[in-house]
Amino acid sequence: MPKVIFVASDQTRREIEISGGWSLMEGAVQNDVTEIVAECGGGCACATCHVFIEPAWLDKLPEQTPSEKDLLDCTAVPRQSNSRLSCQIKLTPEMDGMVVHLPQRQT
C-alpha cells in the first residue's frame, strides 16, 4: 500500500498507508486527517478536500479535469500552483512516499 506523508499547517507530520485505488481524500478521512473535510463525499463538487502537493510529486498525479481546475478557484485558502483536490487523486504505487501539505482551513 502506498504511504503518504501528510504535513499539517503547524508542520506536524503523519505517515498514512492508503489502499491502492482509493483516493487521497478517502485515505485521509478514514485515518482521521481532520484537515480534509470533503463535504461532498468525493464528487469533485465542493473544494473542501484541498491539498498542496510537494512539487516533486506533481508529475505523478492524474491530469486535472476542467471541474477540478474551476473548483480550485473556490478553496478557502487560496490556491497555489501545487494545489489539488485530494478526491481527484487515486493512489498508485508511484505515489509511495508522496508528501502532501494541508491547508489551515477548508471552509
Binding site: 463535504e39 474551476d70 473548483l71
Partner: protein
Amino acid sequence: MKRFIIVGAGQAGLQVAESLRRGGFDGEVLLVGEEASLPYQRPPLSKKYLLGEVEAPRLLFRPADHYAKLGIACHLGVPVAKLDKENRIVYLADGAELCYDRLALTTGARVRELTVPGAGDPRVCYLRGLNDAENLRVRLSQARRVAIIGGGFIGLEVAAIARGLGCEVAVLETQSRVLQRVVAPVVSDFFARIHRERGVNIQLAQQVSAIDATPDALTIITADGSSVVADLIVAGIGVLPNIELARASGLLCDGGIVVDEFARTSDPSIVSAGDCTMHRNLLYPRPHRIESVQNAVDQAKVAAGTLLDHPVAYAQVPWFWSDQYDFKLQMTGISTGYDELVLRGEPEKGAFSVFYYADERLIAADSINRPAEHMVSRKLIATPGGCYPKAQLADTAIDLKTIF
C-alpha cells in the same frame, strides 16, 4: 461522569458525537443505532455503490478503531424501544436501559412505501439504507426491464444506473414534470431530456393504481388504464421522518421533531438534528424539514454546541446534489416562492446555472456541471442583501468568481 446519548447513527449522529469530543466534552458518549453497520455515507448508495464501483467498507465514514480512540461507545444493530424523558432513560429493544444526562435524537427518515395492491411483492424495492442498496444491486444485475415509480432524485439516479447496466427503464411520475417539488421547469425539462435521449421511457402525469405480480413479470397498471411491464420495480416516492419515538415520549412533533434554531426540542435535555427535524434556520422565516447531508452535518454541529452549553444559532444556506450519468446537479438555497428566473448558459450544451429570485433578492441557484458557479452561489445567497445584477449573472462572458 456525565453521559450524553445519541440515538441514530447516521451522518447527523456521528457529527454530534465527534463535535462533542472536539468541543472538549470529557464525559461518556454513546451512539445508538438501529442498523448494524458503523455510520456510513448514504449518497453513494444510489450512485457508485449500485454500479458496484465501491464496496461497503469504503462507505464507512471512519474506521472501527476511530470510535474507541475518540471514546465513542457504539451500540449498533439494536432499535430503541422507548424513551422516558421524565426519568431520562433510553430503553433498547434488547432490554438494556441507558440513563442519560442529555440526549440527541438523530433518527433520520425512512422510505414512504407504496400502498397500491400488489406493492408487497419482493420485487418491489426501495432505496434508503445499505441493506436496501445491497438488495437492489443484486436484483438490478438480474433484471432486464426496470420500472421506477417516482421521478425525484432517487428515481432518476436509479434510472441512470439501470440504463448504465443495460436495462430497459421506465420512470412513472405523478406530476407533470420530473423533480417538480425542487427545481424550475427548465431544469426538470433538461433532466427529462437527458434521460429520454439515453432511452429511458419517462411517463409524466401517471398515477399508479395497482401492480399485477406473476412469477414472470410485474405489470404496473396506471389510472388511465395503460400498463408497464417490468422484472423489477423501484419506488422512490419520498421519505417520512422517524418521529415515533419522540412523539411517544411526549416531545413536540409537527411534520418532524420540532426544534428551534439551537436544535432544542420541547425538552430542555434533548436536542435533535438532521432529516427528522422540523427546524428553524435563521435565514428563513418559517420552520422547515429538509433531507440533506448539509443539514445533517451543520445542524448536528449546532446540536452539539447546545449540548455543551455553547449555543450558536443555526443559519446556513442549504445545499444538495444529485449525480445522473455524467451530469452533476448542485442546488443551493430554497427556491420555494421564487418569482423570477435568470438562466446562465445554454441547457442544450449540458452545463448551465439557474438563479431564483424573489422580490429582487437571490434566494437559490441550481448548477448543472458548473461546480464553481455552485460554490459562488452559496456565498452570494449567504450574503445579506443578496442583490446581484441579473444581467451579470446571465452573462457567461463574466466569470462569476470575479463578481464576488
